[in-house]
Every structure is written in structure tokens, then in C-alpha cells.
């Protein structure tokens, strides 16, 4: 399916045309795509869709941005008292 508002490329470099993926299907394939676990022909199909579909490009960019932002999210850790207890235990251990 050619997404609305875009023109399909005049020629395709592939021997066989990649299968059509609808946007609704593509959004569920993006993690497998990013993880690099899609079978080769699905990979080609996703890339072909993305090339022609600006909204899906935006969606993918948003997934990537979300992942990148997660890298700087504050994390919960042991409370200071617990950490102090552990440090004390460590010191005692080698005393």
C-alpha cells in the first residue's frame, strides 16, 4: 500500500517487489526491526515502506527518541542506609 500523499518510486532495485505492509502492521514490527531479528525479506519490506511513508518515519524516529531518552531516566537504587550497612559489612569482613 502506498501511503497517502506520496508517489511510489518509479523503479524498484529489487528482483522481487517487497510485500506491502500497512502502517498499522509496520508499527508492531519496529522493535523486531530495531533488534535486527526480522527475516531478510521482512526487513526489505519494512525499509521499502519506511522509504515511502513519512508518518511511519516519524513514528520510528519517536521510538528511537523514546529509547534514547530512557537512557537518561533517573533510577531507583538502594537507600543510603542500606548502602551504608553494606559498606560497614564490607569493612568488618576484612577487619
Amino acid at each position: 500500500v502506498t501511503p497517502p500523499g506520496t508517489t511510489p518510486p518509479a523503479t524498484t532495485p529489487l528482483a522481487t517487489t517487497p510485500r506491502d505492509i500497512a502502517c498499522i502492521e509496520l508499527v508492531e514490527m519496529l522493535t523486531d526491526y530495531l533488534e535486527g531479528v526480522l527475516p531478510a525479506e521482512e526487513m526489505v519490506a519494512v525499509e521499502a515502506h519506511l522509504q515511502e511513508c513519512p508518518p511511519c518515519q516519524v513514528y520510528l524516529a519517536q521510538m528511537r527518541a523514546t529509547i534514547a531518552a530512557l537512557g537518561s531516566v533517573p533510577v531507583d537504587t538502594l537507600c543510603t542506609e542500606a548502602q551504608d550497612t553494606l559498606l560497614d559489612a564490607f569493612r568488618d569482613h576484612f577487619r
Binding site: P4, A22, C23, T31, V37, V58, A65, A68, A69, G71
Partner: protein, 199 residues
């Protein structure tokens, strides 16, 4: 209905292994059947029965003998099976359904079925550094806390702590496919949350 050996409880409390082995052999088939009514697979029913027997062992000394021993054992079993069943339901719910509201896509009778609707397509968030603002970090932090447990664990281990997929599968006892589905659902939900505050 089997008549219960009146000495059974005493023998178990005294650590009589023969008595324990016999009662496990005798009651486990029915326990499996009960467990199976709550959980999805035979192997998880077997785990539940095992867990129930371990629970019985732990509280054997506290058993007051008001009910029949067998009734008490099955009560422990049902509690364990319910707990497991609820967990499985949650996990299933974590793995089902689309991650993007289907109403944002065109209907099947449209010229472009399943394509984004013009008025519901995602719009550019602008330059990425904007997302790193403290405000969005706080939003993500809260949104992570609201993810279903396993999605949260997978997303945090992968994307916050930087573990690779093999490590996460190992740590959370997941198949690679389930790990990816949980990661996908978690990330997609978080993307949606950000979209809600940015757009």
C-alpha cells in the same frame, strides 16, 4: 472419599518420609487437576502443586487440625494456583493487542487500509535534545512505574541499564520472542505517553 489416616498429621510432623511420599503420591493427581483449572499449562500446574506441598511443609507445625488435613492442603493449593493464574493473566494481557490505537488507522474499506489517518498520524517532535529535558525524564520515570511489571523490567534493563537481550532473557526467564514483545509493548506505551505530553 478416602478416609484419612488419623495418625497422618503426627507422622508428617515427626518427619516420616514414607508417609509424606505416600500422601504426595495419593493427593497430587487431584491437586494437579485443580491447579490446571486455574493455570494455562500442565507444567505450570505441576509447579503450583510443588509450591503447594512446600507451603504445606512450611506451615505443618502451625496447622491446628480443625479441618481435615486434606482440606487444608487443598486450600493451600488453591491459593497458590489462583496466585499463579492471576500472574499468567497479567502476562497474557501484557502480550495482547495493538500498541497503537487502531482508530488512528484507515478502515479496511479505505483506499489505503491500515494506513495512518491524515488527522491522526504522528507528528514530528522536533530536535531530540528537547526530549532530554528534565521534564520529560520525569514523565518517563513516572510512566515506567505504571507499566505492567514484566514490561517495566524488560524496558528498564534494556533501555535504562543497558543490558543486552540475552542477559534479560536469562534474568527474567523469558524466551527471546517474549522478551521482544514485552520490550515492544513497553516502549510503544512510553512513546505514547511522550506523544501525549509533547503534542
Amino acid at each position: 472419599v478416602q478416609v484419612e489416616d488419623p495418625m497422618l498429621l503426627e507422622r508428617l510432623r515427626a518427619g516420616d518420609q514414607v508417609a509424606f511420599a505416600a500422601v504426595v503420591r495419593q493427593w497430587s493427581p487431584a491437586m494437579l487437576r485443580v491447579a490446571r483449572a486455574y493455570v494455562r499449562t500442565q507444567s505450570s500446574a505441576e509447579e503450583v502443586v510443588q509450591e503447594a506441598w512446600l507451603g504445606v511443609l512450611r506451615s505443618l507445625d502451625g496447622f491446628e487440625g480443625r479441618a481435615q488435613l486434606r482440606t487444608w492442603v487443598f486450600r493451600i493449593l488453591v491459593k497458590a494456583a489462583r496466585r499463579r493464574g492471576r500472574r499468567e493473566e497479567r502476562v497474557n494481557a501484557e502480550l495482547d493487542g495493538p500498541t497503537v490505537d487502531p482508530s488512528r488507522f484507515r478502515d479496511s474499506d479505505d483506499q489505503y487500509p491500515g494506513g495512518w489517518r491524515a488527522d491522526a498520524a504522528p507528528t514530528d517532535w522536533g530536535p531530540e535534545p528537547v526530549l532530554l529535558a528534565a521534564e520529560f525524564r520525569a514523565v518517563l520515570h513516572r510512566a515506567l512505574a505504571e507499566l505492567p511489571e514484566r514490561q517495566r523490567a524488560v524496558v528498564e534493563l534494556r533501555d535504562v541499564h543497558g543490558f543486552d537481550s540475552d542477559e534479560v532473557c536469562e534474568l527474567l526467564d523469558l524466551t527471546p520472542a517474549d522478551q521482544r514483545v514485552l520490550l515492544h509493548r513497553g516502549r510503544a506505551t512510553l512513546r505514547g505517553v511522550l506523544e501525549g505530553v509533547i503534542a
